[in-house]
Symmetry: C3
Subunit: 201 residues, 3 copies
C-alpha cells in the first residue's frame, strides 16, 4: 500500500469515526450510525463535486470505502465506548488535522483543474475540508460546530488553500505545492489546538 | 389506468400525506405544508438523481404529480384532522410499505442501469426509499426518525435491493426480479410492523 | 454601473445581511457568519441550477460577489449592532421585496429557457426567491420562517411567476414581462407587509 493510499484511508476513517460518535450521542440506531458516518466522511467532497458538476463521485468509483464504513458501523455500534477509550483524544486530533489538510488541498486542486477562479477554488478547498462535519451536524439537528466554536479550523483550510494557489501561480511543481500546503494546514491546525487559539467574534 | 401507474400515484400520495401530517404538527402554513409534502414524496428520488447526475428529474417531466400535491395542500390543510380520522393507521402503513418497496427497487434498478457497482446500487435503492422522510425531518428540524427509532425500515429496503441485484446477476428476467423484490420489501416491512420488531442499538 | 447591476448587488447584499443577522443571533463565529450569509444570498439560485443541471453557477462565474460577502463578513461582525441601527427596518423590507421579485423572475425565466413545463417553471421561480432563506434557517437549526409565519412571501413569488409565464404565453416582449412581473412581486410583498396580511392555516 502506498503512503498516500494509507493517509486517504486514515482521513476517511477519522471522518467516519467522528460520525459514529455524534450519531451514538444522538442515540441513533445502526442505520443512523452508518449514514451519519458516511456523510461525515464523504459529504464535503460530494458537495464540491455536485457544485462543480463532476461525476462519478469519489465513493461511487471506490465502493470499497463505503463497504468499509458499513462493516465498521456493524462492528462499532456495540464497541463505541471501548473504542473511545482505546483511541486517545490526541490521536483523533492528529488524524483529523491530517484529514483536513488532505481533503482541503484535494478540493482546491480539483477546482483549479476545473478552471475555477482563484477565490472560488479556495472556497472549494474549504468546503471539501469542513462540510462533511457541517452536514453531520445538520443531520444530527445541531448548529454546525465549525460555525460557532471560534476555533481556527476552516481558517487553516482557507490559508493552506491560498498557499497552494499562490505556489501554483508561481509555477512551482504540482506535487510539491500539494504536499507542502497540506502539511501547512495540518501543522497550523495542530498548533492552534496545542495553544488553544480562538477567533474573536 | 394501468396497475403500475395506480401504485405509483399511491406511493407519492402516501409520501405527501406523511409530509402533510408532519408539517401540520410543526404548525406550518400552506407554503410549508406544500413544500414539506413535496420534499417527502420526491426528495429520495431527487437526491439519487443528483448523485447519479440524471436529468430531467422525475417530477420535472411529470408535472401532474407536483400539481396534484399542490391541489391537495390547498384542500388538505383545513381537512387534515378529518383526513387522519378517515384514513386508518393500518391503511397508511400498508401504503407506505408498498411505496418503500417500489421506490427502493426503482432506485436500485436505475443505479444498476447507470453502471454503478453493486454496493453503491444497493445504497441508491435505500436512499430512494428513505431520504424523502429524512429530508422531511431535517426541514422540520428533527433528528430523522428513520435513523433513531430502531425499526427495520431502511434494512428492508437494503435487503430487498440486494435480492434484486442477486436476481439480476443470476440473469433472471428484469420485470420478475423487480416485482418480486419490491413485494419482498413491502412484505418484510409489514411483517416487522405486525410483530413490532426492533434493531438492537 | 447599469441599473440592473446595481439592483442585483442590492439584492445579494440584502440576502447576505439577513444571513449576518441570523448568524450573529446564533452566536456564530466569522466562519459561520460568512457561510450563512453566502448561503442566504446564493442558496436559492444554486439549488435551482442543481435541479436544472445548469453550470457554471452564478457565483462561480462572478467571484466578485463571493469576495464582497467575504470582506463584509470580516467588517460586519464587529459592526453588526451599529449596522442594524443605521439601517431602518423599512429599508430592509423594501430591499428584500426588490430582491424577492428579481430572484424569482430570474428563476422562472431561466426555467422556461431550459424548456421546463409551466408549473415546474413557477416552482423554480419560488425556489430561487425563497430557498436562500430556507437553507439559512436549516443551517441555523430553525424551522424555516417562510414555512410557518403565514405571511404571503412565497405566495407573492408564485403569483408573479405565473404573471410572467402568462405574459410570455401571450407573446409579450421578454423584457417587459420580466420587469413588470418583478415589480408586481415587489409591490405585492410591500403591500402585504404594509397591511400585515396573513394566510389562514
Amino acid at each position: 500500500m502506498t503512503l498516500i493510499k494509507f493517509i486517504e484511508i486514515m482521513a476517511i476513517l477519522v471522518g467516519a469515526f467522528s460520525g459514529f460518535i455524534e450519531a451514538r450521542r444522538k442515540r441513533m440506531d445502526l442505520v443512523g450510525v452508518f449514514t451519519v458516518a458516511f456523510i461525515t466522511a464523504f459529504g464535503g467532497g460530494t458537495l464540491r463535486d455536485i457544485l462543480l458538476d463532476r461525476r462519478p463521485l469519489f465513493w461511487v468509483t471506490h465502493q470499497e470505502y463505503a463497504i468499509l464504513i458499513f462493516v465498521l458501523a456493524l462492528v462499532a455500534s456495540p464497541l463505541i465506548r471501548t473504542l473511545r477509550q482505546m483511541v486517545s483524544e490526541r490521536l483523533i486530533v492528529i488524524a483529523d488535522a491530517i484529514g483536513l489538510g488532505l481533503f482541503s488541498i484535494a478540493g482546491v486542486a480539483s477546482a483549479l483543474d476545473a478552471g475555477m477562479p482563484l477565490f472560488i477554488a479556495s472556497m472549494m478547498g474549504v468546503i471539501t475540508g469542513i462540510f462533511g462535519g457541517v452536514l453531520r451536524d445538520i443531520v444530527c439537528n445541531e448548529v454546525p460546530m465549525v460555525f460557532r466554536d471560534g476555533k481556527p479550523y476552516a481558517i487553516c483550510a482557507f490559508l493552506g488553500s491560498w498557499m497552494f494557489l499562490i505556489m501554483r501561480k508561481l509555477e512551482m511543481p504540482h506535487d510539491f505545492a500539494l504536499w507542502s500546503s497540506a502539511t501547512f494546514i495540518s501543522a497550523l491546525r495542530l498548533l492552534s489546538w496545542k495553544f488553544d487559539m480562538r477567533l474573536g467574534r
